[in-house]
């Protein structure tokens, strides 16, 4: 791949130094889909990308049409040009046990902790521990270098990174700031000690130039509002915001004049009726009246969408678009979405 400056400027740090891409957005905006497409786009041209899922929903498995994924980094998608996307369905409990074993050699203690209720406590009740375990998995993958078995520190610091990029399918905007602000979260329980140190190491990666938080929105009021609020919160934490990805964009079907007329309820029924008649549809007059209503609703929605879009543009972030795909999202659809991202400048 050429690293030339001739192409479009990569948006939102999608090249440059960014290696951890955190994808958030309001529930229902298609975060998982966008995160998967982003991972694929970043892998195109021979990259090795890890897609980490942290909400325990098995959303990636559903998307790829497979059975639930185990807790391991598994190669799931081969991208044209030799790239690969690995997927990890991160699980707080497994991460905790792995962590205990890795750092304390406490495999047996893990069982005792489990009986005591400590594992349940750490992964579901204690503030921030679950989050630091999950973000810890992603940041560890970001730091890992080739030739090391697990721990980032094993390998020579000159070895290339194991993953070229890590994409996280993160919690929704309502919870993202809390989720990423791990060390203030764990402070209530651990002001000193190894948990605190671990949180600090995680935070170091999240705060670094390597990390970008991307927001998925729709052209609707609430998702756009949450994007605005979320960006303010993330900036308030001193983290870096990347792109705004507008998902499920519908193509314009009417020209400007027709849109304007339709929005005012001035669609010409005769023109419509004549067209329907030429298409040999029954009762063209009645049908035209009904369709004029649908056209008006569409025109009003387009008007609202434009208002929302200009609000999103004012955020001053790179704005990328992904089309609404008829018939839902599967592997083929992901290819389309990844290509669209690449066309808009997303690359390593």
């Amino acid at each position: 791949m050429s690293e030339g400056e001739d192409g479009p400027q990569p948006p939102g740090g999608a090249r440059a130094k960014a290696r951890l891409h955190i994808v958030t957005g309001k529930g229902g905006t298609g975060k998982t889909t966008v995160a998967a497409a982003l991972a694929q786009a970043l892998a195109s041209g021979g990259g090795r990308v890890l897609l980490v899922e942290v909400e325990g929903r098995q959303g990636v498995a559903t998307l790829l049409g497979g059975p639930p994924l185990p807790y391991e980094e598994r190669e799931m998608v081969s991208v044209p040009g030799g790239g690969t996307v690995c997927v990890l369905a991160a699980d707080a409990e497994a991460a905790l046990l792995e962590y205990l074993e890795m750092f304390y050699g406490m495999r047996r203690a893990g069982q005792a902790l489990n009986r005591l209720g400590a594992v349940d406590f750490a992964t579901t009740i204690a503030p921030g521990l679950r989050d630091v375990l999950l973000t810890g998995k992603a940041t560890e993958a970001v730091r890992r270098r080739r030739g090391s078995r697990r721990r980032a520190s094993d390998a020579s610091p000159k070895a290339p990174f194991h993953y070229d990029a890590v994409v996280m399918d993160a919690p929704p905007t309502g919870r993202i700031a809390r989720f990423l602000n791990v060390n203030s979260e764990v402070a209530g329980l651990a002001r000193v000690g190894p948990v605190r140190n671990h949180a600090d190491r995680v935070m170091e990666v999240i705060r670094s130039e390597q990390t970008r938080v991307h927001f998925v929105s729709l052209l609707e009021e609430m998702p756009a509002q949450e994007t605005r609020d979320g960006i303010a919160e993330i900036l308030g934490l001193g983290l870096r915001v990347g792109m705004v990805l507008v998902n499920m964009v519908r193509p314009p079907l009417l020209d400007e004049a027709d849109l304007a007329a339709a929005a005012e309820g001035d669609t010409d029924p005769d023109a419509l009726s004549a067209g329907l008649e030429e298409a040999r549809l029954e009762a063209p007059g009645e049908l035209a009246a009904a369709l004029a209503g649908e056209v008006r609703a569409h025109a009003l929605r387009v008007r609202l969408e434009r208002r929302v879009r200009s609000g999103l543009e004012e955020l001053g972030r790179p704005l990328l678009e992904l089309p609404l795909l008829e018939g839902g999202v599967d592997r083929a659809a992901l290819d389309v979405l990844a290509r669209r991202l690449a066309e808009q400048g997303v690359r390593r």
């Binding site: 203690a109 009986r115 406590f121 679950r130 030429e278 549809l281």
Partner: protein, 382 residues
């Protein structure tokens, strides 16, 4: 397509029934739970009931849509139009304040002060996951007991899973009453936990190293002050849980027609059945029903074919666009009906109300009233 046998959720019958005392709105994030709760509350109030709506949503969207500057832990009156037969109040749950009030209510002033100042208590009451759900249930129990309300409508906290509303309070109660906290707060020398057997020493030393001595001290004084005050957290949680099983409670599961939200709704419906909790029905927000009339009979394939036939001559761009638009709309509707029917076929007898997508979000009482009307007259056949 033939929709699965489907019964309509009758929102008016639900809110009018004097036997309905609690309505709990649950569902995935972003499906419009808060709006649904507020709309049901408003409809009940305008139809004559003394209603209070509890929201736990930190985005304070309900506050905005109710025209209130802020909601705090006390029910605030919502000004209704003249002619409203009942009354409406709204409150936003302040979980820390609710917890503090529980402490103050049960402990003598000295001990209450001691507990409220304890750092472990402060973390517990502000940032443990599950505290929000626990306190929502606590508040629900209080409001129910006060006798001031005909109907309490609850909007459940935003969380990873809708099931958290049912599970988190008990989980937290289990922790607070459980072995771990006894173990951690036991004096270091007692050995009361020898029975844990292998790994015990490692555990003690690791926990000490991980959480630090200060926290263990805080925890010890918290537990000793707390023990004498409460009858047990788990028991308390179970009491409110039982309230949710009484016949006066109705669960309304809220969803939107997408795969994730419908799957979450389906989990929740299963869970309610398992726990013998009364499900009033499913509200599907933001659907796209087709208007009645000749357009309803025009299928997607037919519309696209007609548009294509026009496209070749390029003489009727407006009609061609209108037909494509219609095809898109029909396909959207088909997808929605498929999702809905899939849920209904695996959960027979669930009553459904659909609320059609609005061009703009609801920002005021008029908007909420509109949603209430849609809920009351909803049918999802088209």
């Amino acid at each position: 397509m033939t929709p699965a046998a489907q019964e309509r959720l009758d929102a008016d019958a639900l809110v009018d029934d004097p036997g309905t005392r609690i309505i709990v709105c649950c569902g995935a994030g972003g499906v419009g739970k808060t709006t649904t709760a507020a709309a049901l509350g408003l409809r009940a109030a305008e139809r004559g009931r003394r209603t209070v709506v509890i929201t736990v949503d930190p985005a304070r969207r309900l506050a905005q849509s109710l025209g209130l500057e802020s909601l705090d832990n006390t029910p605030r009156p919502v000004p209704l139009s003249e002619g409203a037969a009942g009354s409406m109040h709204a409150m936003m749950l302040d979980m820390k304040r609710t917890f503090d009030e529980v402490v103050e209510q049960h402990a003598d002033p000295d001990r209450a002060r001691q507990i409220l100042a304890n750092p472990f208590y402060q973390t517990l009451s502000t940032s443990f996951s599950g505290t929000q759900e626990y306190m929502a249930m606590e508040k629900l129990g209080q409001l129910r007991q006060s006798g001031d309300w005909d109907l309490i409508v609850v909007d459940t906290p935003p969380s990873r899973s809708a099931l958290d509303f049912l599970d988190a309070p008990k989980r937290l109660g289990r922790f607070l009453d459980g072995r771990l906290i006894r173990f951690l707060s036991a004096p270091a020398s007692t050995g009361a936990f020898r029975l844990l057997g292998a790994g015990f020493n490692l555990v003690t030393s690791a926990i000490g190293r991980i959480v630090g001595a200060q926290l263990l001290d805080d925890l010890r004084s918290f537990v000793s002050a707390f023990d004498t005050v409460f009858g047990g957290f788990q028991e308390r949680a179970e009491r409110t849980y039982r309230l949710l099983r009484t016949p006066g409670t109705a669960f309304v599961v809220v969803a939107v027609p997408d795969t994730d939200a419908m799957r979450e709704a389906s989990y929740f419906v299963d869970r309610l059945a398992t726990d013998a909790m009364p499900l009033a029905g499913l509200v599907v927000n933001r659907t796209h029903p087709l208007p009645e009339g000749p357009a309803a009979a025009l299928g997607a394939r037919e519309a696209v074919a007609a548009a294509e036939s026009l496209g070749r001559s390029d003489s009727h761009p407006l009609a061609s666009a209108a037909l494509r638009l219609h095809a898109e709309r029909v396909r959207t509707r088909e997808r929605e009906c498929r999702l809905r029917d899939a849920l209904l076929s695996s959960h027979g007898g669930v009553r459904v109300a659909e609320v059609a997508a609005l061009p703009e979000d609801v920002h005021d009482l008029a908007g909420l009233r509109g949603i209430g009307e849609a809920l009351a007259s909803a049918s999802g056949d088209r």
